[in-house]
């Protein structure tokens, strides 16, 4: 179980103070998968590193299976497996197997235990055939799988994954998600991601961060409900009286978020239910400002492309 209580963290960069996390609190129950979402710089990695005891919070505390990350670091470290976003973090000239044995030993396993566990986790992540190949010859997908294998070496109850599918192709990414699902049967997992499809597919609970503030949390249904009962409609011309529903524009097509109770006629290209990505764009405040008819960052545009 993960519990975050009023955690704040400010960094000083170039003489400026940047509030990375501001009074963030949430809980993730045992055996659930949680997803931290938000833009770059929203505070996701900072929070993962605080939970891993790699960064000390300015105030507040967090608990991993009841252990405080500020007061019981050793106990916390015994209860977590981490996968950081760094692409390197292994020894390039050692094989995948030797890397796992090395990290297993420094985490406290004997040589024979480390070798046995390394074989087991390599089998689990599907890298057994590649175990004796040098890490530098691994593809990105294989490197991420090996990083996950390392997180599982001590069979910890809590797994923290920072952008686990970063840089992976579609197939590897789907493969990896299946793997996380298999692992999640016995563990509590908190991951960060920019991929809403991934979040939708995996997460029991979604935590949305915006500039260090927690702005929404809940199940997929809870987050979708933030938009209310609406449908998303694409039209070439906006019917009279529907201007107030315009939330996007791209290449001659208007995107409208219309209450389900309203019916819209003529020129309708597409009508669909909102996805998590739509809600995310809405929560981030990046839709078109219909009062000024000026697009900000065009989250809707991504849907069309």
């Amino acid at each position: 179980m993960i519990k975050v209580v009023n955690v704040s963290k400010t960094f000083k960069t170039g003489g400026k103070e940047v509030k990375a996390l501001n009074n963030v609190s949430f809980e993730l129950e045992k055996g659930k998968i949680g997803a931290l979402v938000g833009h770059n710089g929203a505070g996701k990695t900072t929070l993962i590193k605080i939970l891993s005891t790699l960064i000390i919070p300015d105030s507040g505390d967090a608990y991993i299976n009841g252990y405080s990350v500020t007061k019981q670091e050793k106990e916390v470290r015994r209860n977590i497996g981490t996968m950081m976003v760094s692409e390197r973090a292994f020894y390039y000239r050692l094989s995948g197997f030797d890397n796992l044995v090395f990290f297993g030993i420094i985490q406290g396993l004997s040589v024979s235990e480390a070798k046995r566990v390394a074989n087991e986790v390599l089998e689990l992540v599907g890298l057994s055939e590649w175990k004796d190949v040098q890490y530098m010859k691994y593809s990105t997908g294989m490197q991420r799988k090996l990083a996950l294998a390392r997180a599982l070496i001590l069979d910890p109850p809590v797994i923290l994954l920072d952008e686990p599918t970063l840089g992976m192709d579609v197939v590897s990414s789907r493969d990896f998600r299946s793997l996380i699902k298999v692992i999640s049967k016995e563990k509590t997992i908190l991951l960060t991601s920019h991929n809403m499809k991934e979040v939708e597919d995996l997460a029991d609970k979604i935590i949305v961060l915006k500039r260090g503030n927690l702005i929404a949390e809940g199940s997929k249904e809870d987050i979708l409900a933030k938009l209310g009962k609406v449908k998303l409609v694409s039209v070439r011309d906006v019917p009279r009286g529907f201007d107030k529903y315009v939330v996007g524009y791209d290449n001659g097509i208007f995107f409208l978020r219309v209450p389900e109770s309203e019916s819209i006629s003529g020129n309708v290209i597409k009508e669909e239910s909102p996805t998590l990505e739509d809600v995310f764009v809405y929560l981030m405040g990046e839709e078109i400002d219909s009062t000024r008819n000026k697009s900000r960052r065009g989250g809707w545009r991504r849907r069309v492309e």
Binding site: I55, I80, A89, Y91, F102, G108, L109, V117
Partner: protein, 271 residues
Amino acid sequence: MEKTSGVIDKLYAYIYLRGFKIWSSYRTQMILNVLSWALPVFTYYFVGTSLGGNLVEKIGVPDYTAFVVIGLAFQGYVSSIITTISQRLRNEQVYGTIEYYVLSSGGVVSFLFYSVLWGFVINTISAGVTLSIGLILKVHYDVNLLTTFIIILLLLLSTIGFSMISAGFTMMVKQGNPIAFFFSTFTTLMSGTVFPVTILPTPVKDVSLAIPLTWALNGLRLSMLSGEGVIQLANIIGVLILFNVILLPLGIGFYSYSFKRARKKGTLSEY
């Protein structure tokens, strides 16, 4: 999962896997390393030979080849281990592995300790090569094993202290480590490696006496070439113990502080 790794397991990981396996995977570097250990001995041998016995004796060195062989064999323990540790720490930051050491069961102190041991292993091989070349060049050894062992151990401990201070600087300033710079450039000049410190100008000589290596080399020459025992070298051993009493707590304190500071600032993996 129950954790049971001990010293032997850690040695396997740090010395065999991360040390030897990676080092020996760079074949050319390995050959160049061995050459770099051997060639300076010949350089100084010919310097001593060309200067002639009388001139060298005037500075209080009856056998210059023996003097240089001991100096070169053990100077590496200090300079090489300290610079290797700083470089190691920086490499781990660049690789992104440093965070996994922080999370490991032994923590960052264990990481540094075992990294020093790899430096010790590689420099012991280096010292062995240098001393063997000394034999070829007809250096006569009269080794008091116990005294030599004690002095090397004390030298190694003081080196760990300096390594921790040096690694602390690397963690704090990332690049431009003054301790590593000092030991990689000044020890040959100031610690009596290839000439006795007695010929240095007084202020420089005083600084040289503040370096444990100066005392250790003096002691090692006496214990390895003249077979002097613990009692005869008690003053040197005492000074080295004093260095350790100061350097080890200082090193551990500064090193631990630098990591805590990095965790507060969120700069652990920055480089």
